[in-house]
Point group: C2
Chain length 334, copies 2
């Protein structure tokens, strides 16, 4: 592969290959090698979690959010799923010459509101401007710092056969929302993005203690890609029950119409976690009490067979392999 | 102003106005209000410095550096001039579809080398791809974390009449290098960018103790803009001696030819500091022992007159006001 393809930004297989073969190969160290969205650093007497993400979503505004809200929620969520309390955010914007100042104002207002809602502070930033035609309106990069309690031990090393997979709500809503908002697609759709900060939800669940073993936010590449990251190189596999995976009728309809699979559509306000078999019902009850997770479901379990693989018990009664996203499903989803 | 102009990215007056009137107005908090490049956070028993910058430099490669080296040095320098030891860097890249993979490889190698030289670790990152024509090849956003000793007290509040201004070397080399490297300009120039990490230089100087009162790296907007930031709203002014300001013959020549002023040209490996009158010679000697600061000079002093202003004793014998950069001198310098 001699050129960067859109698929290198998909969050799926090509992104993983690019990071492994180019970035990791050059920059290898103990922090980077886990290929995670965040790094856990020891600073003084604290475990500090550090993360960064660039946002290039198109369109800038969509039902349920905009690039400003997305950039805050995304970084808050990357910190939260590591078990950290998100505290401080840095915001760097790259703007195209001629960008409407009122539009920028709406985005900054949205950043303000999202930061307020998540209880994080924007503490530093940067602004750059490039000539007209040299970027698409507005890109935002957010970086975040959170602090992790040493009591919280979220690790895939703790996963056992029989552990349950729980997702906090219906999947694919952000992806389908962006798809149907995109210029040129004439779909009348009521699907809103699930874009939200999950820190209050996660903090509540972590009170359940050690029965929660690991969690992530299934963004680019969707639930399928995140679960494949869970099992990659591990001594367990995951078997999902298609009938239990929550998918709204709106998402189902548009995916069927356009030939997309909700398992690969991005989420921006969902959490997927591995919980001990014993504790799964307790965690599910706790989650459903939270307004963001009323639609939570136990969707599958960890198994000793199919090591390193994700399989799906289909509604039709078959068992199919669910791979990581290959190529690009939908560019600039976030 | 209804639209974003290139000048909003200059680092000068328009950038300050945009940040004050839009970003700060919405996001105001104690960290942001000092309008600094970095935030100083208290985490556990440590003072942690946090910074972010996006890099959109054009061209990507230039004599003395490239966007990769620049993105690491810039973030290392923002942390260093706050008195912090730079430790961890997050790198987020936005790439244009079709970007040459070998070119990307050269940039990543350069990131590796710059991080190694500065003794910092790249601990996390992100990659995004946008469609061809939707960004100009490659933008990089770096964020950094450093730790500050509580003994180091760098503050403009400590500045007094008679304090000296020291610059670590010849000014304007990065700006002139980019200017003369830019496509379409047929200047044969031997000016190399001064792009470098200043953390070892700064750490050495800080051993001088309390006689060093404040320092910054004069990047976008040049020395003139940085010194104006020093005096902004303060009860002191700065008077510079034009004859003492180090400017290489290459920079002088190109600036004269094209009508630019070296005082406004960006630097990417220089430090300008305020030092007590008594300690100035000691600091100057310490600096000149460091390979990066052999060309250091005392270039002026803080005065009780001209409060909030920067003035220049010109070679011709006059005194002229040196304002912050107005408008845009050269887009995409960093």
């Amino acid at each position: 592969m001699k050129k960067i393809l859109l698929g290198h930004g998909s969050g799926g297989r090509l992104t993983h290959d690019l990071i492994k073969n180019l970035f990791l190969k050059n920059l290898r160290n103990a922090y980077l090698s886990n290929l995670d969205d965040s790094a856990i650093l020891r600073i003084g007497n604290q475990e500090v979690v550090f993360t960064t993400d660039s946002y290039v979503v198109n369109p800038l505004f969509f039902p349920g959010g905009d690039i400003g809200k997305l950039s805050i929620c995304g970084t808050v969520n990357d910190l939260s799923v590591c078990g950290a309390e998100p505290l401080y955010i840095a915001v760097s914007v790259i703007m195209e010459e001629g960008l409407d100042m009122a539009l920028l104002g709406r985005v900054v207002s949205s950043i303000k509101k999202a930061a307020h809602n998540a209880g994080v502070k924007i503490v530093t930033g940067d602004t750059k401007v490039v000539e007209k035609g040299m970027c698409d309106k507005l890109f935002i990069t957010t970086s975040g710092i959170g602090v992790k309690s040493r009591k919280t031990n979220l690790s895939l090393d703790r996963v056992k056969k029989g552990d349950r997979i729980i997702v906090s709500g219906a999947i694919g809503e952000h992806g389908v929302c962006i798809l149907s908002s995109r210029e040129g697609l004439n779909i009348t759709s009521r699907v809103r993005s699930d874009c939200a900060s999950v820190n209050s939800l996660v903090a509540g669940i972590l009170k359940a203690g050690g029965i929660v073993k690991f969690m992530r936010d299934p963004t680019r590449g969707g639930l399928a890609t995140t679960l494949n990251e869970f099992v990659d190189g591990r001594r367990f596999g995951i078997v999902l029950d298609e009938e239990r995976i929550p998918v709204s009728s709106g998402v189902k309809g548009i995916c069927e119409l356009l030939g997309f699979d909700p398992l690969y559509m991005a989420n921006e306000g969902r959490v997927v976690m591995i919980v001990s078999k014993k504790g799964a019902d307790k965690v599910l009850k706790m989650m459903r009490r939270h307004p963001q997770a009323r639609g939570a479901h136990i969707i599958g379990e960890c198994v000793g067979d199919y090591k390193g693989k994700v399989c799906l018990n289909t509604s039709a009664g078959g068992l199919r392999l669910v791979k990581m996203l290959e190529g690009e499903q939908l560019p600039r989803i976030c």
